[in-house]
């Protein structure tokens, strides 16, 4: 099963993501902070991470930079309340970007697209 790590400081959002993404057939693990995310990443592997940009007093962008550096095989989709980050250089490191919305269609679509792209890359690497 495809494993997703969802990082968001809002408990209700973590719950919503978990419910909705489980329905899509993913295994979902959540983290409320950067530290918790790093801890969970150390114990196991994930196929994709969904990151919030604002994590209470932390920056999701910093966590993104860390993940890209240390876990370059794991794609990251940024999910933020701020649409302005979409065209921000710092956010361009991510593989996908969605603006938070009650309608999770775009997020699900983006996760599927990024995973498909990763799978395609993997196949190309095997060849």
């Amino acid at each position: 099963m495809i494993r997703l790590l969802v990082v968001d400081d809002e408990a209700n959002i973590r719950l919503l993501y978990t419910e909705e993404l489980k329905d899509e057939g993913y295994e979902v693990v959540t983290a409320a902070s950067s530290a918790e995310a790093v801890e969970k990443l150390q114990g196991s592997t994930f196929d994709l991470a969904v990151l919030d940009i604002k994590l209470k007093n932390e920056s999701g962008i910093e966590l993104l930079q860390k993940l890209v550096k240390e876990r370059h095989n794991m794609p990251v989709v940024l999910c933020s309340a701020f649409s302005c980050y979409k065209d921000d250089f710092s956010a361009w490191l991510a593989d996908g970007y969605v603006v938070k919305s009650g309608d999770l269609t775009e997020l699900k679509h983006e996760i599927a697209r990024v995973l498909a792209k990763k799978a395609q890359k993997g196949k190309a690497g095997e060849k």
Binding site: L16, S83, V99, S101
Partner: protein
């Protein structure tokens, strides 16, 4: 004694003495005064004296001695009186000149006064004068202004005019400055050009006078070893005066004066008078030049002050905008998350509720309203972003491709065909990339749900003078120009928050960057957008 001579009479009648004029009635009744003023010069009195001498009167030779000495002293006194009168006139003139020079800080006015004073009949009465000024930056003594007639005909006309007008020095100078300064400058342009001498040319007579800080009367100019033949030929006179203008030991310039028309000899006295005149002129010129420089600096400081004030206002405005931005961001974050949770769970519940559930309508309302509020939030945040654009040079193709990538899936799923025709060798454009890509996305997505049958969107880019023009043609949306214009006005009837503010916001964003945005609509052909992107930084407001 000859009875015809009246020297010994206390009172005489008019006509008794041929030397007493009609207006000298006081001499008729004053023997002493008459003896002193008239008898000494009178041949009849001298005849009387001769007769006394011939008669052997011992007083006659003594009286003759006194008479000779008296006449000598009288001549001397008359000469001194004349000299003093001249000096008084000169002092009066210098006083008038000093007053005029003192009251002016305009260089051209000072120079007009100076040259008028040298050439005016009531001044120093020279026929012609040139003024040369030291240019330290270029290291030359430069011909600046000339004044005087070119020939006898002009001289007669001008001097006659001056004589008849009987103007004082200040009026003469003002008249010259207003009516003749430019024409005189043009008239002597060739001479002034040639009168420019490098300050390093120490052998040149003009530089010698300047360095020596003393006036030089040049005579036999055509044979003078220190006078270059071209200077003598240029002036066309054998005698001229060089008067250096020195102020506080600083070389200010030089006056070259001559009598090229009348050829009246320039006297030592002329030279000394001009020397006296040189100091206030040099001082006034230096003061006017300093004032000019001061004015330039003052303008610069004023301009800098203005810019500083603008910058201060800008900083305050930016701080205010940044504060607005921070507040908006904070609100967005606080509002969007709960909205997302409400909308998300409502959708989740809706998904799992049976079609017969009577509460589905409530959940559908929650979903619709949260979607609408999310739209409002997007537009508020985008407007907040538009308040402070961050511009840089960007590639137009990258901009278009980014916008297309973000919109492509949605557009193709709705059956739209997009054609992008990039222009050849497009220069980078100076824009806020984020805002421009938002605008392009908005324009493209605004076209969705068009009512026309032709679902083609064509994008062209081409380079023009100092800009790149981006043209978007959409044949799917057939609306009138009036409807389109309404869409471009924020908060108009057709553009409620969260439902169509996008185009108006785009226009505002582009306007803030000084980017022209033109939208034309035709009910048959659809909408054409022209966005003119600047390629120069200076083009920005």
């Amino acid at each position: 004694m000859d009875q015809e001579c009246c020297w010994n009479r206390d009172v005489i009648e008019q006509g008794d003495c041929p030397n007493v004029d009609e207006n000298e009635e006081d001499l008729l009744v004053s023997k002493r005064q008459r003896n002193l003023e008239k008898c000494c010069e009178c041949p009849r009195f001298l005849n009387e004296l001769q007769r006394l001498y011939d008669e052997g009167n011992p007083l006659a030779p003594v009286l003759a001695g006194f008479l000779v000495e008296y006449r000598r002293q009288k001549t001397q006194i008359q000469s001194l009186v004349s000299f003093l009168d001249n000096k008084t006139l000169e002092i009066r003139f210098l006083h008038e000149l000093g007053y005029v020079l003192q009251s002016s800080v305009d260089l051209d006015e000072v120079l007009s006064v100076a040259l008028t004073a040298i050439t005016a009949g009531k001044g120093f009465g020279m026929n012609r004068a040139f003024l040369l000024l030291c240019d330290r930056d270029e290291g030359v003594l430069k011909g600046y202004l000339g004044l005087g007639p070119r020939n006898m005909e002009e001289a007669s006309r001008v001097w006659n005019e001056i004589l008849q007008s009987d103007m004082d020095l200040q009026t003469l100078a003002q008249n010259f400055r207003l009516n003749k300064l430019s024409s005189e400058r043009a008239k002597f342009h060739d001479v002034l050009e040639l009168l420019t001498v490098p300050l390093s040319n120490k052998d040149h007579i003009v530089i010698k006078a300047l360095d020596g800080k003393r006036p030089i009367m040049v005579e036999n100019a055509f044979q003078h070893p220190d006078v270059p033949p071209e200077l003598a030929n240029l002036l066309g006179v054998d005698t001229f005066l060089l008067m250096p203008l020195i102020s506080r030991n600083r070389q200010v310039g030089m006056i070259v004066a001559d009598n090229c028309i009348t050829h009246r000899a320039i006297t030592e006295e002329d030279m000394h008078s001009l020397e006296t005149f040189g100091f206030p002129v040099a001082f006034a010129i230096e003061r006017a030049s300093l004032y000019d420089k001061l004015q330039v600096e003052l303008n610069r400081v004023t301009e800098a002050g203005k810019k500083l004030k603008e910058q201060q206002e800008l900083i305050v405005r930016m701080e205010n905008m940044a504060l607005v931005g921070r507040i908006t961001s904070s609100i967005a974050h606080s509002v969007r998350n709960p909205l997302m949770i409400i909308g998300g769970f409502a959708r989740s519940m809706l998904k799992s509720s049976p079609a017969s559930d009577p509460k589905r309508t409530f959940m559908e309302s929650i979903v619709a309203e949260t979607r609408h509020l999310e739209g409002v939030l997007d537009e508020i945040l985008n407007y907040s972003d538009s308040l402070y654009p961050t511009r840089d040079f960007w590639d137009v193709n990258q901009l278009v491709e980014t916008a297309l990538r973000d919109s492509a899936d949605m557009l193709t799923s709705l059956g739209y065909a997009i054609r992008y025709m990039p222009g050849h060798a497009l220069p980078p454009v100076y824009i806020d990339f984020k805002q421009l890509s938002y605008c392009l996305r908005t324009v493209l997505q605004n076209d969705i749900n068009g009512n026309g049958t032709d679902r083609t969107i064509a994008i062209h880019s081409r380079s023009d003078e100092n800009c790149v023009i981006l043209r978007i043609e959409d044949r799917s949306r057939l609306i009138s120009q009036e409807e389109l214009d309404r869409l471009l006005v924020p908060f108009s009837e057709t553009s409620d928050l969260g439902a169509g503010l996008g185009l108006a916001l785009c226009k505002t964003m582009l306007q803030k960057q000084g980017i022209p945005f033109d939208a034309q609509s035709d009910l048959n052909d659809g909408i054409r957008y022209n966005i003119t992107l600047p390629t120069l930084k200076e083009e920005q407001p």
